[in-house]
Amino acid sequence: MRGRERRLGLLYSLPVSAFLALSFLAPILLVAAFSVMPPKVFSLANMPDFSAYGEFLTQGYWRSVAWSLGMALAATLILFVLCWPLAFAMAKVFRGFTLVLTIGVVMTLFVSENIRLFGWVLTLMKGGLIEGYIRHWTGVGYDGLLYNVPIIIFGLVYVYLPFMLFPLAQGISMVPDDARQAAYDLGATRWQILREIELPLASPGIVVGSLLCFVLSAGAIAESKLLGGQAVIVIADEVETAFTYGQNWPLGAALAMVLIAIVGGIAIWGIAKADLDAMIGRRR
């Protein structure tokens, strides 16, 4: 009976598996295949020569990868610190207000990312909302806040906030109040409770939120283009340039593969660590 169920299960999952293989794996395999083609070809009917990966190493593209990953890491850390108290309040304190907050944050996602970022450009630029008013009131202006690395990280933090906030709130809601109260009763300090009770028990939410933010930030392009004035060139930008102005599909594909490999590796490692079953409530 068990064996038959398993076979049936396998059979039933076949259409979805086939769909996933076709829609998710096939494009990645196509990109992978292009990445080993000789430079500047537009079809797969060529002898593979891996020269695009050589170009990645010799032409300094690793610098763009480093910038993307570095800024993604910084944004993720800032988001974690920023969202923890808010997520805690949403899970444990706010009650009815949580819904208002959730709707408020989700609403921002209805507006295109580019438009929201352009709003920040108009706010932060020289003569913009902030500098314009300061100059108007005090007579002293400054040079605008745009076109540097910190502002790109600010953009990432702003855009990806919901992706940290909600998983984190979900993770914190998994921390039983009894455990915290017991720890208080046994004389634990607030710091000990955070470190030894809340962080470990909320870790699935922390891992999922961090992964989402890190992966999305690593592939982000609009923040560096709009707010940062391309103060640094991110890897997604290099991929775009290779495919368009460069007309070098194999190079673009190789750059994309490097990013996919790094980000995918980190994601798989993270997911293996997180107890997702606990988070979606299948256990406990």
Binding site: P39, M125, K126, G127, L226, Q230, F243, Y245, G246, Q247
Partner: protein, 377 residues
């Protein structure tokens, strides 16, 4: 009848099987009343498409705008020759890449040659890049414009900018006072011109060295880089920068029509290519080599030669540009004084005379490599 799970599944499978056959047949049958246009923004506006749709009731006319020439060419290369009927790109691609790769095909000469006679003198000759080596007509010109750099004339006078030309951006006093509009293919040309190199001929080692130095210096001194002309104009208007590298009527016109006539495209008075230092782009609309062509494609191309439609194309939302058909007084009279000022009509002839044609860059790949490395910093 009760629907059992088995009959439902069978029906679903039959439907799935049939769906692989049906749409293909329908698509072939519908090509007579279908037109797909891949173009720069302008041809896809309601002002242009609605009258054509009215003329061809029942036809499905679709136009999609691209964000760069190479982007649009990629679509054809990726197999979308089956989808598109017309493609609208800047002048070098049709002769340089699309025709040799069999992605476009010649137009009916008898139908379109008469239109050249009414065009501005530069085009009436007729315009050489619209023709293949064997004299086939491979595209119709319409919008065009000088494309070099843009200044805020309140900060840098037009005369000074024209006299200094590209060297303006090498002046140490300009450090952090300009932006670079990352239309990368254009920047290759303009950086060559800045280094007194001819981008349309192969460079020697010394040439590449000069180009490397120029690219590093231009990027090093730039306050911001963006491929968004609105963001660039905004920075110019609010005083974050005083000029931007790579730009022209196309990018300056939206700000000028809004009354900021201190934003001006500038064409250098002299330069390294036959004494000229400016560059002009001219769009060509070509017939895609669609294996199942739509008869509406040439109809549309003829339709956009009508005076009102010329105006609608030249004055589409986003950017404003002169059109070749303005050589015909019937067409030119449709522009009012402010609109003519937005497209810098007063200096257009002079700027055209100081410009060379945008062309295929001889050492594009190598220069692109140097350029992207310099951009990375």
């Amino acid at each position: 009848m009760t629907l059992t799970r088995r009959t439902f599944t069978t029906g679903l499978a039959a439907l799935a099987g049939a769906s692989t056959v049906l749409p293909a047949r329908r698509a072939i049958a519908a090509r007579d009343s279908e037109l797909n246009i891949l173009c720069w923004e302008g041809y896809n506006t309601d002002d242009v498409l609605s009258p054509f749709r009215k003329m061809n009731a029942g036809a499905t006319v679709r136009a999609e705008s691209g964000t760069s020439d190479p982007d649009m060419i990629n679509k054809l290369r990726a197999g979308e020759v089956n989808v598109w009927d017309l493609i609208n790109l800047n002048q070098p691609w049709a002769r340089g890449q699309l025709l040799p790769e069999g992605l476009i095909k010649p137009l009916t000469k008898e139908r379109f040659m008469p239109y050249f006679e009414k065009m501005a003198p530069e085009f009436a000759a007729p315009y050489p890049l619209a023709f293949a080596d064997n004299d086939d007509l491979i595209g119709m010109p319409q919008r065009y414009g000088p494309f070099s750099f843009v200044v805020n004339t309140d900060k840098i006078s037009r005369e000074m900018a024209e006299d200094q030309g590209w060297k303006l951006f090498l002046d140490p006093a300009m450090k952090d006072r300009y932006g670079v509009l990352t239309y990368d293919n254009w920047n290759l040309i303009h950086m060559c011109l800045t280094g007194d190199l001819n981008p349309f001929e192969p460079l020697d080692d010394a040439g590449f060295e000069t180009f490397t130095g120029i690219a590093e210096q231009i990027f090093g001194g730039a306050k911001l880089l963006t491929d968004d002309l609105v963001a660039m104009n905004t920075a110019l208007i609010n005083g974050e920068i005083d000029a931007y590298f790579t730009g022209g009527t196309y990018t300056a016109s939206p700000a000028r029509l809004d009354g900021m006539t201190n934003i001006r495209g500038v064409t250098p008075k002299s330069g390294p290519v036959g004494g000229k230092g400016g560059v002009v782009w001219i769009e060509l609309t070509s017939l895609v080599n669609n294996p199942d062509p739509s008869p509406l494609a040439e109809d549309f191309l003829e339709f956009v030669q009508a005076p009102e439609i010329c105006k609608a194309v030249g004055f589409a939302e986003g950017t404003y540009n002169p059109v070749a058909q303005m050589g015909d007084p019937e067409v030119a009279k449709l522009w009012d004084a402010d609109e003519l000022d937005a497209i810098q009509w007063d200096s257009l002839e002079e700027e055209m005379a100081n410009s060379v044609e945008y062309d295929v860059v001889a050492d594009y790949d190598k220069l692109m490599q140097i350029y992207t490395a310099a951009k990375r910093g």
